[in-house]
């Protein structure tokens, strides 16, 4: 089962993962949720995206993960638009028979999404829209460790 969604609205973790496990004989479920930080000054993050490519790129990354590990299910939700501190931005969930492949696939998916999915964050402060968030070298290195 593969569920990929781009949406403006927040999501509810428990409701989302229920669709991966309900009525299925799953042994391991790993979830990663990325949240918007406050950092003492942010009203939120504005996330711009390239809709058609984002959907296609996430599908390619999920395909790649399914080729590397025997997964029963993959769920990826990525939000766009204004996201308030404390709200979720991204959810990656993987299910498999045993934990090893679910952990590895979830980490791989996040590392690849960070560097390949066309989303751009911008800080939203009291003064209005501010700086674009810069890409982190650590994210590029994290993606490289999986090879090509």
């Amino acid at each position: 089962m593969r569920i990929l969604r781009l949406q403006k609205e927040p999501f509810e973790l428990s409701a989302e993962i229920a669709s991966l496990t309900a009525g299925r004989d799953v042994g391991a479920l790993v979830t990663f949720t990325g949240l918007c930080r406050h950092e003492g000054r942010l009203l939120g993050l504005e996330i711009e995206h390239y809709p058609d490519m984002a959907a296609a790129e996430i599908a390619r990354v999920v395909e790649e993960a399914c080729g590397r590990w025997p997964l029963d299910g993959v769920l990826v939700i990525h939000r766009y638009g204004l996201i308030r501190p404390g709200e979720p931005i991204v959810l990656v969930a993987t299910t498999s028979r045993h934990r090893g492949e679910a952990f590895a696939a979830a980490e791989f998916l996040m590392d690849y999404l960070k560097t390949r999915a066309p989303f751009w964050k911008r800080e939203h402060t009291r003064a209005g829209l501010g700086e674009w968030v810069g890409a982190r070298e650590e994210d590029a290195q994290a993606a490289e460790k999986w090879g090509s």
Binding site: G34, I47, E48, H49, Y50, D52, M53, A56, E57, H78, I89, V90, M110, L113, K114, T115, R116, A117, P118, F119, W120, K121, R122, W132, V133, G134, A135, D139, A140
Partner: protein, 83 residues
Amino acid sequence: MKALYFAWVRERVGLAEEELAPPASVATIAELIDWLRNRGENYAAAFGDDRTVRAALDRRHAKPHERIAGAREIAFFPPMTGG
């Protein structure tokens, strides 16, 4: 071909999208970027002097040496910061 610009590339160019009709001598993404840089200060500011700006051809990541012939859509954007 249709060109799309995102994030600070969009802001610096001053457009979200436009139709491009480069001369036949412009064969690769790198050559298209050079051609765009010469169109005006806004493009020169958007693309800068280095290779920070990324490109996608028909919604797939593409390297500067790749050829643009046959592509319907090219997008330019900064390194991605999603997740």
